[in-house]
Amino acid sequence: MFEEYDEYRNKIREFALKEFTEEMAAEYDRKEEYPDELRKKSLSLGIIDMQNPAKVMIAIEELCRVDAGLGIAVTTPYFGSEVIMLFGNDRQKEILQDVYKGKYILGLAVTEPSGGSDVAGLKTTAMKQGNKYILNGSKMFITNGAIADYLVVLARTSEDPNPHHGLSTFLVNTKSKGFNANKLVDKLGVRATNTAELQFNNIELNEDDLIGEEGKGFYYIMMFFNISRIYVAAQSLGIAIGALDRIKSYIKENDIKDEDSMFRLSDVGTHIEATRQMTYNAASYLFEFKPKPELTSMAKAYGSETAVYAAESAMEMLGDKSLYEDVQRIFRNAKIMEIWEGTSEIEKLVIARYILKGE
């Protein structure tokens, strides 16, 4: 189901090679700033097609292959849009259209300072008072947190003995009174993306800010993660291929022949091939609405390890030459893959559970 997109893939690759120059990638990495002009350019050139997840995945892979910081920056303004697409009301879907047109930036706020991967344990509340919900709490490590116009926020709307119940999703305007975002700096990598800590102080939300049904937020978000994880696998795949590109160039340019390098090259290439097969296989189930979450989790967990392995291999194989800009940036970018959208630890528990269920 992915071969028909070869032309689209080439187009993305050309865009990335043309726009993601070393100067630009290094500059945004140094400044730790979001490259808003690239977002606009990518929209004007039709790089992003959120209606077609296969294309989104290919775009992520090819953009991250050239630079993950810029690549993620360009593909992340839509982060959380699947939640609105699937469960949002008409007004929310209109806002989403404006996101797609480039008018707004979207984000998703789930993780909390105390929570990490423990979604059900979150402490942010949106208790109903009359026909309003009053949002209170804080969120951590929120991508686009300080630049988003709207955020999909998960909060507790009722106390329930089952912590998975009683959670709901809202579309929150970041211009709301009581909203505060604190940009987090000095990240190891993907520094062209914006990460923030958020505070919600008695933000008033209307009933039509609720996304979908009250109390179903946990399940919406889990469904969303089942989709977004495949995109992280694609980010990882792109980063790994990018690292392999640099290794290959280095070997060719320096006429490297030693067998140790050949073996390392082979191992990196094999891990990438495994990641590719697992990612596209999991995606083909997912995009045909027959998701196999264990395959997605495997692709994400294995893929993130591959990204890190490929990046570290590039550093080690290039030796002190790796200290130049691009390879060391790949190295710093790769690490986040093992952390966001569910750490590898969480993925592995999910996988184990599915394996034991199977015959």
């Binding site: 290094a26 990495d29 140094r30 993780t111 105390s114 929570g115 990490g116 991967s117 423990d118 344990g121 951590m140 490590f141 987090l184 000095d186 990240k187 190891l188 990598g189 030693d258 067998e259 140790d260 390098s261 890190v308 570290e312 550093m315 080690e316 290039l318 030796g319 002190d320 790796s322 200290l323 130049y324 800009e325 060391q328 190295f331 710093r332 690490k335 986040i336 093992e338 952390i339 966001w340 750490t343 590898s344 630890e345 592995k348």
Partner: protein, 328 residues
């Protein structure tokens, strides 16, 4: 370990605790003030003879200093290493030996271009022109060059900084030469100098392993997830415990009778994995400089990239096979 060594260890640890703000060093570099403090404690010129204001310490003491400081700031340890294990043996017995006095007392900033990617350096009657690429310590006033000869070049230099992946406390960049170079030695001593440095490098690596791991152990002891401490999850505490085994065995070997070649090799084979997993154990927080753990991951891979490549592995293999090998 002997009692006196334990006292030294504690002294250094206390010094680091009080005086080294590792986050500030990462973002602002090793200031002159820090350098002077290191000198006044006798750490900076650890192995340098007393007549040059050094502390003339034995190897074990030197390694203890490197290890303890690297737990806190690998950059500072690297700076001490550069002076003691690279600069000192380079100038020893040469006309530049007297520069050690200022170097050990923190007045003179020195570096050694061991990456050594000269860009069209031209020599004309001892006068060098061209650009030195990627010098760790590019703000130094005296730099040792390992070209065909061992030379010393004197600054101050014009240098351009690069953003540097690791050892951020030390300036890293290119130096444009338009200066007089003095040939110190008629042969390049890089090989033998690096060989003698496997012990001290292992000490730095061990300190980094230990520093990263301790942060992870501390964090997983207090941080909760899903209602449990992180350490209660076997895959986390087992792995950290196994890394502590490696750390402990390496330390015993380093200060014991082991061949430094082998200690260095095992340290290089474990350091990146341990630093990486120590970052992971911090979850999202590990990705930010503020928690002080990601620097170990950066520094670890830089250390491997600079000091541990195909050439070192070839030497190691020949050491093991006790013969010259004609590699395919």
């Amino acid at each position: 370990m002997k009692e006196e060594n334990n006292i030294l260890k504690e002294t250094v640890a206390e010094f680091c605790d009080k005086n080294l703000d590792e986050k500030k060093i990462e973002s602002e570099g090793i200031t002159h003030g820090i350098t002077e403090l290191l000198a006044s404690q006798g750490f900076l010129g650890a192995t340098i003879p007393g007549k040059y204001s050094g502390s003339e310490l034995d190897n074990t003491s030197y390694e203890i200093i490197l290890e303890e400081i690297a737990k806190n700031s690998p950059s500072v340890a690297m700076k001490i290493f550069i002076l003691n294990s690279l600069y000192y043996p380079s100038v020893k017995g040469t006309s530049a030996e007297t520069t050690l006095s200022d170097a050990a007392s923190g007045k003179l900033n020195v570096a050694v271009d061991f990456i050594n990617r000269a860009n069209d350096i031209k020599e004309n009657a001892g006068k060098l022109s061209g650009t030195l690429i990627n010098v760790l310590g590019s703000d130094a006033e005296k730099i040792i060059l390992f070209n065909e000869n061992t030379s010393i070049i004197s600054g101050p230099f014009g240098y351009s900084d690069r953003d540097f992946m690791g050892f951020r406390g030390i300036k890293f960049g290119d130096i444009t030469l338009d200066n007089t170079a003095t040939v110190l030695d008629s042969k390049n001593r890089k090989g033998e100098i690096l060989e003698a440095s496997y012990g001290p490098l292992s000490a730095i690596a061990l300190g980094m392993i230990s520093g990263a791991l301790q942060k992870a152990i501390d964090y997983t002891s207090v941080r909760k997830a899903f209602g449990n401490y992180l350490k209660d999850f076997e895959p986390i505490s087992f792995r950290l415990a196994q890394f502590r085994s490696t750390e402990s065995v390496l330390r015993s070997a380093l200060y014991g009778e082991a061949d430094p070649y082998y200690v260095f090799n095992l340290a290089m084979e474990s350091i990146v994995e341990i630093a990486r997993y120590s970052v992971n154990a911090h979850g999202g927080y590990g990705y930010f400089q503020d928690f002080g753990v990601e620097k170990f991951y950066r520094d670890a891979i830089v250390m491997k990239s600079i000091f541990y490549g195909n050439q070192e592995l070839r030497k190691l293999a020949e050491h093991v096979y006790s013969e010259k090998i004609n590699f395919v």
